[in-house]
């Protein structure tokens, strides 16, 4: 599948935004957040800013962005519509959560309840985003049991590194959160490794013989293409990444997204330059996850291209 910038930004930035909101909501519900009155509202704004940037980016690839509001209507059948509904419904309770923290304080039951609601809705949104890809049967690298949990793990990891950075910038240290970020980095890196192991051993969904119904004649090979030039299907879905590039990019993604943030989180946790380390970890994770997401698209193959012998 051809990686489109808008979709890379959507999935990565909403992962950071809703991941951060999930961490804030859960930690507030459990009473683990410091009672600094401005900290939470500002952290929530950062989270909503990331989520909003992702959502706006996603409308850029539409043929008719002005009709985007129509996408909220088909939640009964469409995961894309569900994602739209869930992403917007996360905003009001999250804003109420931040307002209640400001007005009633961190310990009020209402604050904690809205924190929990915001966290759940944020994770539901990420789950819906994942299901857009996981539900597409023609793409074996997406339609498998890895996609949905992986997106949630990456969102939790993104939120952890982002919160650790904000926390360190605000309070000058972030021991607990740096440890959480470290654990999340190890979990997310392992999930990615397991995913690559899985897709590398998958069999193609069909052969050209079965796709054409000509299996009884033996092997089938393409002779003539329908047209001399590339068409929409090949431009959109026929993207093929060179194997040697894929291996290099996997290492770049693994290093920037998970290994480097894990090491930096370890530094921050042990109190060595916590502000710089936690901030650098978040930046590295953002760049690394963009590379990881690029690969998620570039390595995905669409079954329709079999008709073109790809």
């Amino acid at each position: 599948m051809t990686p489109a910038t808008s979709v890379l930004l959507l999935t990565t930035l909403t992962g950071f935004g809703y991941g951060l909101i999930a961490w804030l909501g859960i930690l507030a519900a459990l009473g683990f957040l410091p009672s600094a009155p401005l900290f939470l509202p500002i952290a929530v704004l950062v989270g909503l800013g990331f989520a909003n940037a992702g959502l706006v980016a996603s409308t850029l690839h539409l043929g008719h962005p002005e009709r985007a509001w129509r996408a909220f209507s088909q939640w009964r059948s469409s995961w894309l519509s569900r994602e739209g509904v869930a992403s917007l419904s996360t905003f009001p309770p999250t804003i109420v959560f931040a307002a209640l923290w400001w007005i009633l304080g961190p310990d009020a039951l209402a604050t904690r309840t809205f924190g929990a609601i915001a966290a759940v809705l944020g994770l539901v949104t990420v789950g819906c985003t994942a299901m857009i890809y996981a539900s597409l049967k023609p793409i074996r690298q997406w339609h498998n049991p890895h996609t949905m949990p992986d997106y949630l793990i990456y969102a939790v990891f993104s939120g952890a590194v982002l919160l650790a950075a904000i926390w360190a910038l605000w309070f000058g240290a972030a021991h607990g959160l740096a440890i959480a970020a470290l654990i999340a980095a190890v979990a997310a890196g392992s999930a990615k490794f397991a995913y690559w192991h899985f897709i590398d051993r998958q069999k193609p969904l069909v052969t050209l013989a079965s796709a054409t119904g000509l299996a009884a004649f033996g092997t089938v090979r393409p002779l003539d293409q329908p047209h001399f030039a590339e068409n929409y299907v090949l431009r959109e879905m026929g993207y093929q990444i060179a194997r040697k590039h894929a291996v290099k990019l996997r290492w770049i993604a693994l290093t920037l997204a998970f290994l480097l943030p894990a090491l930096l989180a370890l530094l921050a946790a042990s109190g060595i330059a916590p502000v710089g380390a936690a901030t650098a970890a978040a930046f590295s994770a953002l760049v690394g996850l963009l590379v990881e997401r690029w690969l998620f698209f570039a390595e995905a193959t669409h079954v329709s291209t079999i008709y073109y012998g790809r």
């Binding site: 008719h64 209507s73 088909q74 059948s77 469409s78 049967k137 054409t212 092997t219 929409y232 008709y307």
Partner: protein, 243 residues
């Protein structure tokens, strides 16, 4: 509504039956499809640089050619490919706006281009590569089964069939109700053991492909053995040449 319609009792299931035995790969169906549809329901279809170095455009019908089998028994199979108007079209259910829909009365899968937001997700959901995006209009387009011909009362009744079927010079394309087991097309499918493409993916396509016939016409041996013939002259020639 992109939820699939409840099947109506006695509803038609319109579709195509394509005979891979008689298709000669002339591309007339693709050309007539383009010709009709660039003035039809989804008009116009983009056609950039048609005579230039890098022509690009939307086609609802594309004709591949394959070699099936190996060696002396292999054959060329021309393979027209268009929307199969599936019974379980995921291209419809993934649509977030309700632009993509399947008609309850005849099973035709269509796009309402007035509300399509151009997210392209339907084309990702189609395993057959049948949908093509119109960059000029910013919306998705696809085969309509010539909905503007088959129900068009201003056309003579004999012409109320899809453009691709009407134009096929070898009569390799057939149009009809595949939901009715007694229809001509259903009987043709039964008689020729017609197949659905990629049934394992679960889209339940309506269109059927008739596989090439395996029968071959036995050729006479090039030379008849002269031994045993009663003709004395041939026996003598055979004897001389066999030395």
């Amino acid at each position: 509504m992109t939820s699939l319609p409840q099947p109506l009792p006695g509803a038609k299931k319109l579709g195509l039956v394509i005979d891979l035995d008689t298709c000669v790969g002339c591309h007339a169906c693709a050309v007539n499809c383009k010709e009709w549809n660039t003035g039809g329901h989804y008009a116009p279809l983009p056609d950039h640089e048609p005579y230039g170095k890098d022509p690009a455009g939307v086609w609802f019908n594309r004709i591949h050619s394959y070699e099936a089998g190996c060696g002396s028994t292999s054959r060329t199979v021309n393979f027209p490919r268009s929307c199969l108007h599936c019974d379980e079209p995921q291209c419809v259910t993934v649509c977030p706006t309700g632009a993509s829909y399947k008609r309850a009365e005849d099973g035709i899968v269509l796009v309402n281009t007035d509300i399509c937001i151009g997210c392209k997700l339907c084309s990702w959901a189609c395993p057959y590569g049948a949908r093509e995006f119109d960059d000029d209009a910013g919306v998705m387009k696809k085969c309509t089964l010539c909905i503007d011909r088959i129900y068009n009362e201003t056309l003579p009744e004999a012409e109320r069939e899809p453009a691709c079927v009407a134009t096929c010079p070898s009569r390799a394309r057939h149009f009809g109700d595949l939901g009715d087991p007694n229809s001509k097309v259903s009987q043709l499918v039964a008689e020729r053991a017609g197949v659905a493409l990629m049934p394992e993916l679960g889209y339940a396509p309506v269109n059927r492909y008739l596989p090439p016939r395996k029968a071959t016409i036995p050729a006479k041996p090039l030379e008849q053995r002269a031994t045993g013939t009663t003709n004395a002259l041939l026996r003598m020639i055979d004897k001389v040449l066999s030395r």
